[in-house]
Subunit: 553 residues, 2 copies
């Protein structure tokens, strides 16, 4: 029997941070691995979320058999509600991952229509040609898995996000034995997490945070307020454990913190006795040194818990002199200024703040260089394709594979949209498929595109000047105006001269046109725009958006 | 004789990064230390530069005797042209600092009117009551100085920006002996650089970069292209030195790189034989392995040299396969994503890139914790006031002084605008003086204020919707319109329904008003705006800026 070739189709997450989604196709079967969002760049004004364009899946709708989730982070599950609306396929993941997906689907009123399948690490889901095996890994969220996709031409191992933590909080170590066994049997393709490939050595165990927390909390005189990632359930557990030693009650603050802690407790991933948890309304019923608050906002997000407390706009929590704040997280690239702003504000209020630069209060969830070398060495793949990272990370991860002895022709540094096609005797990067970003803004999904964004950037830079004039086409005369409205350009009341100049220039231009029988609206508008733009650039060296509006009366 | 009190008036740079400027006042004399810019925050759309508000100096114009510059970095000299336009005082600084100021003033056509006084480190400038002594320090720009301000009630030591480099490139070590001597004689107040107070240990010497550069350049097969700060003349020297060993010619690329290297060579701070420098037009006359390009753009700035080369938009330099890029700088907080973008792009082009995460290719110019401890210990000041840093840095620097044994009541963690008043027997933080930011946008200085910026932010977030309608007040009827113009909100051609709804709502609201004899423009506009805003929020969950324009015909 001639076996067909296997296609690896990255629809997101390669050469970019976030929106991880990969399709794997063999004959008439496509499986999808993960379905995440990414956060908008700082110049994507007004955009709430970025989700992947899944045209490829829609074009092959009948082939798509299921969505397999490695773990429950937003960049791996965040786009699920948007995607399931377009293509309702079965979803597989560990109990916790599915629990978090449920939460999302509930918010979108989609829960009843969805086909969610919780699995246990170690389980195998068999389709016609493909079989997907979930393998336990360690990461900064509980119940993370690598996926081994068994295909007629060989096994693909996708690590998902992982680190090698020999002492995880839940005691469930990464299933290195199964990975070693797969390596022994032969792995066709390894796809592995590249996030921390630039970091030398081995990541630290989550466990060391517990020791730091313990020491810090033992010395705290008043409340302890810890900001961390809502999804880091093991971190929550450690904060709670250290707090309970000193009879502190635990308060969860922030919507995602409350949601995820509830899901995690319901499903048995977070163990805090009921009597140790209190509602935020009950804060004042306990002395300050018996309180630990776990809050959102570790990235300095202005609307999240930590910032609200710092700036005095939190509904329930106001700063007390003996408060001790702990930021148990790293700023994600791009957020360092926001985080710094909150730290400054807290110090201004006179409270203590402990953060990563001062204490060992956060560890990364992604494998460092030596951990990656271990996985490569155990798996000994025929082909390698780095995933999950900016291009620089993918490049360095490929370099690492080469240094470990792989042949250059077997290593594929590909980006989103580039297809890797593997047949029994070779692998090649073949076609490019359609991929892209879809912007979510308010309740609009995809209705804001690049033109709208370009306009927002233009408006942001120098504001706008609108010129309104009413014309009588029969008498060839201006009936009313020009009137000028500006926003974001200049403070109009203090710039009367310039406003009058704009009026003069617009009027003159229109009168010339009317005098020459030029009545085409587009021409008229174009000439007014150009003259006003020239005037404004000459006078201010700025380029506001100029909008002439001509009414025909 | 009763001595008056001394006032330390920080007009910028405390509790913020950049725009360093401090006034020191005794009786009828005010001296100003430094006069820098800061760069706009990412939400200050369209702003080019931020300069300090110097109302306090203008209100005391007759007292202001001179501007004393610690060194030639933008955050210490960048605002000079704007400030000298308002108050033309003598300027003092080392030869290099004054050379860089000259360059600036030339660009502003102000050179002939300015009073610039180059001094040598060690020199003392005597005024009536105050005497200002320049003391050599080491920093990431040559010829940096601390200032000792000798006053009738004691000596103030302002470190400027510094690190303690025992092996500086020019061999001119920091004058620790003079600082020790001042400490011996008694220092009233120490004001010291807080930038790196959170970093443990001692900063590395600039010299180690030379070793790395040497090794890297010795192995380069093609051109070497180094991006670094244009002001880091010692770095330039080291790059040039390492290049010349291998007979490479040096090319400077980028306006500030050309300007500053010229000033530095003219004044004898940068030593490159004439025959080793070539113009950028002559690049192609030499083999690639005989070329080193030193370029701007180390912060990933989209319009600077490095980005232009990476994206193929540089006028003279296009990428060659054997190029080796070196980014010899750290990303300033907030710039990490930009830098990462350039690195990714260069890797995509298939060239090698070396940056801080991979090699020791940059060192900081600011003292780490142990260096600061040394200065505090040598100076033994009566009072201490941390300067140059965000609030968190100032706070940690104060903590450091306390740990070294200072009394809490003698340590002043102040911010811009807070005055420290020192008399013979005590120091207290007294009044707050007017300070602030002035925005430079194009050729406008100060004409963009907070309202304009707020409008830019509103426009950026969700764009704008303008509604134009012409009314006849006598017939109480709509003559023309409503017409709708949107930008940055929604792609209008694909949203005809919504546009028509806006028209309907606006028309209905106006007709109701006209029917009820409501003709006040403000009321009419307000009601249209409100109804349309409600409609749009309901339909899209967005809040574009809505501008109703009503013309009376």
């Amino acid at each position: 029997m001639i076996k067909e070739s296997l296609k690896i189709i990255p629809l997101g997450g390669l050469g970019e941070i976030g929106k991880n989604i990969t399709a794997i196709e063999y004959k008439d079967e496509i499986i999808v691995i993960d379905c995440g969002i990414s956060f908008p760049d700082e110049d994507m004004y007004g955009i709430d979320l970025v989700i992947p364009d899944i045209k490829y899946l829609l074009d092959n709708k009948n082939k798509v058999k299921g969505l397999f989730l490695t773990h429950g982070h937003e960049d791996h599950i965040g786009a699920i509600p948007y995607i399931l609306k377009q293509i309702n396929i079965p979803v597989y993941g560990t109990k916790l991952t599915i629990g978090l997906v449920k939460n999302k689907l509930k918010e979108h009123n989609m829960l009843s229509k969805s086909n969610l399948n919780p699995i246990r690490p170690g389980e195998l889901i068999k389709l016609d040609e493909l079989a997907i095996e979930f393998i336990r890994v360690t990461h900064s969220i509980a119940e993370s898995c690598a996926l081994a996709i068994h295909t007629p031409i060989g096994t693909v191992l996708h690590t998902g996000d992982f680190k090698i933590d020999y002492t995880p909080i839940d005691g469930k170590v990464m299933d290195l034995n199964r990975i070693a066994q797969l390596g022994q049997e032969g792995v066709l393709l390894l796809m592995a997490d590249s996030t921390n490939v630039e970091r030398a050595g081995h990541s630290l165990s989550e466990k060391i945070i517990g020791e730091t927390l313990n020491r810090i909390i033992s010395n705290a005189k008043g409340r302890v307020i810890v900001a961390t990632f809502a999804s880091n359930i093991h971190r929550m557990q450690q904060i709670a454990d250290a707090s309970m030693i000193y009879d502190r009650k635990i308060v969860f603050s922030g919507r995602s913190m409350e949601n995820i802690s509830n899901v995690a407790m319901d499903l048995g991933y977070l163990h805090i006795p009921e009597e140790s948890i209190i509602g935020i309304e009950d804060l004042n019923r306990y002395p300050s040194d018996k309180i630990t608050i776990i809050t959102t906002g570790s990235q300095g997000e202005p609307m999240a818990g930590l910032s609200r407390i710092a700036y005095g706009s939190h509904r329930h929590i106001s700063i007390e002199q003996d408060d001790l704040f702990i930021i148990s997280a790293s700023p994600i690239p791009g957020n360092d200024k926001l985080v710094s702003r909150v730290i400054n504000q807290l110090y201004r209020k006179g409270v203590e703040v402990i953060y990563e630069d001062l204490e060992e209060i956060h560890v990364s969830g992604h494998a460092y260089k030596e951990e990656l070398k271990l996985i490569h060495t155990l798996v000994k793949p025929k082909y390698f394709m780095p995933v999950h990272g900016e291009y620089r990370h993918l490049k360095h991860h490929s370099d690492l594979a080469l240094k470990l002895g792989m042949d250059k022709s077997n290593v594929f540094t590909l980006e989103t949209g580039q297809v890797l096609e593997i047949s029994q005797d070779k692998a090649i990067a073949t076609e490019k498929v359609h991929t892209g970003v879809v912007f979510v803004d308010g309740i609009g999904v995809g209705d804001v595109g690049n033109i709208v964004l370009r306009d927002r950037r233009d408006l942001a830079r120098d504001g706008m000047v609108t010129i309104v004039v009413a014309i009588n086409k029969e008498t060839y005369s201006i009936v009313s105006g020009p009137d000028i409205i500006t926003r974001g350009f200049i403070y109009a009341r203090e710039s009367e001269n310039l406003i009058n100049k704009i009026k003069d220039v617009a009027k003159e231009e229109i009168e010339i046109c009317l005098g020459n029988n030029i009545l085409e609206w587009q021409v008229l508008k174009g000439r007014v725009r150009k003259s006003v733009e020239q005037l404004l650039y000459h006078k201010t060296k700025r380029r506001p958006s100029v909008f002439p509006i001509i009414m025909d009366i």
